[in-house]
Symmetry: D2
Subunit: 280 residues, 4 copies
């Protein structure tokens, strides 16, 4: 059922990778991945990471793909994170002032990078002067206290709410997952009945952003020469399909070999290819 | 727009009260309420509390309505709690063994009363031998740790999940609300894509239970002689309407005078009467 | 994996049957079913049909179970239909006047039986004088015209909306299904953002109604002596479980042998028994 | 509360207009609109129509904005329709073969323009050889027959489903609305539990497409010089906000003066400006 990833990749000029489950896992970058990326770089492929992880800056993420010999394989400017799109929203629509957030202090990078002042929700009374609320990450705060604080903030003030990572869960080891900030956003949104602004796959804006960046270097780039590689049907593959680019589902992460076909059938999300991993 | 509650109540034999926002608030039983209940008791009305609160036993709840002179006005056996229905489910369907729960230790009463052994989720590994998971209350556990534990328990085992309180939020003071265990149940249910079993208003089973109890004392009781009194449209009133009994919305709790008519219009949940409070 | 239905049934006093997929299919009553029902009747079991079909009256439905020799096996008064509960709602809450409906003329029986005057939606202008809207059946009207008419009626007037059959689809032959009126109710409800009142399994009120009827003949009836038999997990089995009675999933209808276990696993709706059919 | 649209517009280089409720209504182009557009054209503003209407081709739509003297004011190539994005999806992902559709024959333009062969669902048996299903428009087919046909097609085959217009309803006159194809898509999607691919506002891809087109003429175009004008909060304004451009809510269509502020408050969708109409 699966095909060779290297044969498929040979037909494309630009490759977009999901990070977690494709390039790395809880143990860091997966064995053999840096060599594959090096080979692709050598043959002139342009590579991007397209990720819903908004807990750290692109600069910090890019360090993961530094080859001991060949240096940086996917640089910070080739990382498209949902946090980056959230930051662009804040920069263009909120513009100035204080912004409340849920997440680790390192995630506040995205608020600062938009020229705004991050304030943890734990320091926000319902009448705090803030211009927006941003949900960045599931860690770094007390869920019970701070979700209740966020709720009452949103009941007292009509401010835009940004969810910088739409994922419902993320894997923590081979058996267990953790509730991600996307689910905490759903929790609040259903209670306050307001429309939150979500960034991240499967939203096609992530792919449009990466494609626009790639086009800046090669204005004649054909979408058919762009490939999305991911381990999750309803983010990576759904979004890539919608944006109109070819998609590869790899079985090295979220989606298990035993259930992949059944999941494709039951969700109706159909990747163009299925591969064991990018090492294949 | 509002009518006199005492005039309305005069036409009914059995009155079902929601507790919070109708009889009591965060400061305890509201001033004047015990006198009203005494008057009703004197005129032979039978009264029930029908509540989604599963954090304490009916015995503990009934103490709230002890009049200094006249003694107990609404006894434990006239308290229909969502926890009671959950306990009946556990007794008839789970029958024996250990049951994992989220909530305060006092809420575990409902598991014990069904002859089962309560185990806090914090003590449950994903492979723990438990026969069901019950969400009782939003307090008494660490949200981040224990919601993630509950999630991985449900991913590892196919056991029934009971949500003993379907409310999304509850008021903590005149301005602020807290996220209730019903919303935490929604959060988990959407992630695991399983069907949880919910008890509590607006589910008509709560009303059927109270009505059946009232019929045991008077087999000829007509539903048209039963009145539901509540402060919340989408639990108290929706459920009472569906069960086919008359409903009174009081403005002493969740629903504010300024927005009551608009909420009735926008939700389509139409009470038979609107009253300021039961003191009126 | 499956067990013998006759051995299981022997342990119960009252048996509740879903009709479609259990007792009959598109070709009428299934071969052998009348003999099984006769045998149960002979051994003193009390039997009920508990069905979401609101397209015909209990009297018409009961004719299906007339044995050529033994006469009526499950009488009209032993048919609990979602339409019956809808009629009870109309009788107690709407009381008098005209009621708009979607469905076949034969379904209007339930409105008439509540002493109200049925008016097809096709004859209702947005300002028509009607006291409620009832969705009874997917047939007997022009979907495009009349769903749009119903929508504008609900935008113009704040009246209760009753969905007398909560099923999303129903089977028409071994391969194909039809969209049921429950889905049409969902369609309208999401557009108008109002809360409709739904009757029918999995709502436990259906089971409470049947149980109350059975108790009238035998006040000491124990719930553990009542068995629900159905072919659909998320109506028959979910509702029976919630009501606290034992449940049998039969594989003679909606749920196929090949996928039954996987569906039990993925939905978390766990029947007490699985049987090939009631003939087994 | 409202501001002058002409003063606001003066500060932008590119203006994106929703069509229905902003430029035209059921009676055609609104009086005075062509003069306003002429004035904008004279001052060098670039104008686009960004619409979820997929019932006709951009060429046909553009004729609406032909000024008797000044000729075409918003040309076909300045019309971004959700059908256009659907067509791009079909071209890049489906590529060849037959595509089933729901809608008027004129809507099939979008399938043909992608080099594919449109087949009305009424002519599709469940085993028909089709590569995708596209929901284009709510007219031109028999709802009951063809929605049921579409449903059984999707149960029999795992093919991508595209909804080319995500709107739930559209206005037909000052009082009444019609159910749009977006709601019919929701109906089917919830039944088959598959993920459909939706195009149209509020999806930010619509805005990205218009912005990319505008950048082709002026690569230095700043997003802050782009303005979205719409009459609907949860499509026009939500999507424009998310894409990071300024937004104007006009009160000449879906959103009424009396309820505008309350809707902004209750949805949390906050336009940068509110204007009576573009004539103001």
């Amino acid at each position: 059922m699966t095909e060779s990833f290297s044969k498929i990749a040979a037909r494309y000029e630009v490759i977009l990778f999901d990070a977690y489950g494709v390039l790395k896992n809880s143990g860091g970058v997966m064995p053999g991945v840096l060599d594959v990326l090096t080979r692709f770089a050598d043959t002139g492929k342009r590579m991007y990471v397209v990720t819903n992880d908004s807990s750290r800056s692109p600069e910090v993420m890019a360090r993961t793909y530094e080859h001991p010999k060949h240096g940086s394989l996917i640089g910070a400017d080739h990382h498209v994170t949902s946090g980056l799109l959230a930051a662009e929203f804040l920069r263009s629509k909120v513009r100035s002032g204080r912004v409340a957030y849920l997440g680790k202090p390192s995630a506040a990078y995205y608020i600062e990078s938009a020229g705004l002042e991050p304030v943890p929700v734990s320091q926000c009374a319902p009448d705090a002067e803030v211009r927006a609320l941003v949900l960045l990450d599931d860690e770094g705060f007390d869920w019970q206290n701070d979700l209740n604080r966020a709720l009452n903030l949103l009941r007292a003030q009509n401010i835009p709410v940004v969810v910088a990572n739409a994922d419902p869960t993320y894997p923590v080891d081979t058996h267990n997952v953790s509730i991600a900030v996307g689910s905490l956003g759903d929790l609040l949104e259903r209670i306050v009945h307001k429309r939150f602004i979500r960034f991240g796959k499967p939203d096609a804006l992530m792919y449009a952003y990466a494609y626009a960046h790639a086009c800046m270097q090669d204005a004649s780039l054909d979408k058919r020469k762009v490939l999305m590689v991911g381990d999750t049907l309803d983010t990576d593959i759904l979004g890539g399909n919608k944006f109109g680019i070819d998609t590869v589902l790899v079985l090295s992460g979220n989606t298990r070999r035993e259930t992949a076909l059944r999941e494709i059938e039951s969700t109706g999300i159909i990747p163009d290819y299925v591969c064991e991993s990018i090492l294949d």
